[in-house]
């Protein structure tokens, strides 16, 4: 996977898998084991770690009256990371290294957890003011600096 992958859309195989998992959840069924195995096949150990984050309800969807949204994920180390889903971005070090620099992963576990929590409708929801959302987005920059 030496070629840089576009950060704007998910590969269609992942899109398909997520939508099949969403369909199973909508019908009230368990997510079939074969889907979980496919997830493990595509994402390796990140898949288990992402499912663990979903189980622990570590994903919060923060939205403001403007309609802008950002996800916050509480990582296993206790740190929180910002994830943007309009394009693929996570503020964690693994995303910077494995996804951006080496291009050997599609997503980090936090972004995968965000997509899985969307599928399973297990995100926590937090409403903030427009100004507070600005500060959350800016805080990300300050943490990096």
């Amino acid at each position: 996977m030496a070629v840089a992958l576009a950060a704007v859309t998910l590969p269609s195989v992942v899109e398909e898998l997520l939508s099949e998992m969403a369909a199973a959840v909508r019908e009230g069924a368990r997510i079939p084991d074969e889907h979980l195995l496919s997830l493990k096949f595509i994402f390796g150990s990140s898949a288990i770690q992402a499912l663990d984050l979903v189980d622990r309800q570590s994903i919060t969807l923060i939205s403001s009256p403007s309609g802008r949204q950002v996800y916050q994920v509480l990582g296993s180390s206790g740190k929180t990371y910002i994830c943007l889903t309009s394009c693929h971005y996570c503020s964690c070090p693994a995303f910077a290294f494995s996804v951006l620099r080496k291009s050997d992963s599609l997503l980090c576990k936090h972004l995968l957890a965000v997509y899985l929590s969307q599928v399973m409708s297990t995100c926590r929801q937090l409403s903030v003011s427009d100004n507070q959302l600005t500060e959350i987005l800016l805080m990300e920059k300050k943490q990096e600096a």
């Binding site: 030496a2 070629v3 840089a4 992958l5 576009a6 950060a7 704007v8 403001s64 403007s66 309609g67 802008r68 943007l84 309009s86 394009c87 693929h88 971005y89 503020s91 995303f95 910077a96 951006l100 620099r101 291009s103 427009d130 100004n131 959302l133 600005t134 987005l137 800016l138 990300e140 920059k141 990096e144 600096a145």
Partner: protein, 250 residues
Amino acid sequence: MAETLRRVLEPGRTAEPGEENAVEADPPLLLLGGPSSGKTALLFAAALEAAGDGRGPVLFLTRRPLQSLPNRTPAALDPLRLQKIRFQYPPSTGELLRFLCSAHETQGPAPALLLLDGLEEYLAEDLGPQEAAYLAALLLDTAAHFSHRIGPSRGCGLIVALQTPEEGDSGDALQLSLLQRYFPAQCWLQLDAPGPGQRCLRACLEPGGLGPRAEWWVAFQPDGEMTVTPWPTQACDPSPNKGSSSGGQP
């Protein structure tokens, strides 16, 4: 946003059925070229094009005001089009980030096209790879938020101009390949042999894996007038990309 740029380079082109609303199929575009390769002129032409088709305003971000109108076409002198182009001049990377992070707090109609000129000047402030990625991601997120405000049928486009890094600089090459992840469509501008009194460029548009690659010959007269003609052959070697080791090209 390859389609907006294609309409600049192919005046009279009409969108094919289904293309006009195909926001998803018109990914953000990176406009690449060396110094004085006409990037600002093309961005401005894209702004005029978008301002003229009855859509919302155009937001043009640049570090410093344009010294003069880059092209003197009838469209460039049309006050109704010029009124729809809103310029903002974030003086530093911090101010640009603040502008993008707070874009949802602005009132009024959402822009139909977001343009940023001179990304290299903002990246020059010692941004690490992750900070550069955050800036790119915020540009996309801001355009996505404007699209959300406009409504489902038509989105907000995004074109960002970047001066191509010097070859051999591995840090810049990494930054370029990182940006190419976020901007699947790219247009390369290369200086070509000039005619008398003209500045000539070769424009090569790669619309991001969807449409075919296309090329044009762009000439600027001394008075700023821009003329575009299709390149004789439609095969193009994006040689400026060879500086990036991992490469964004398949």
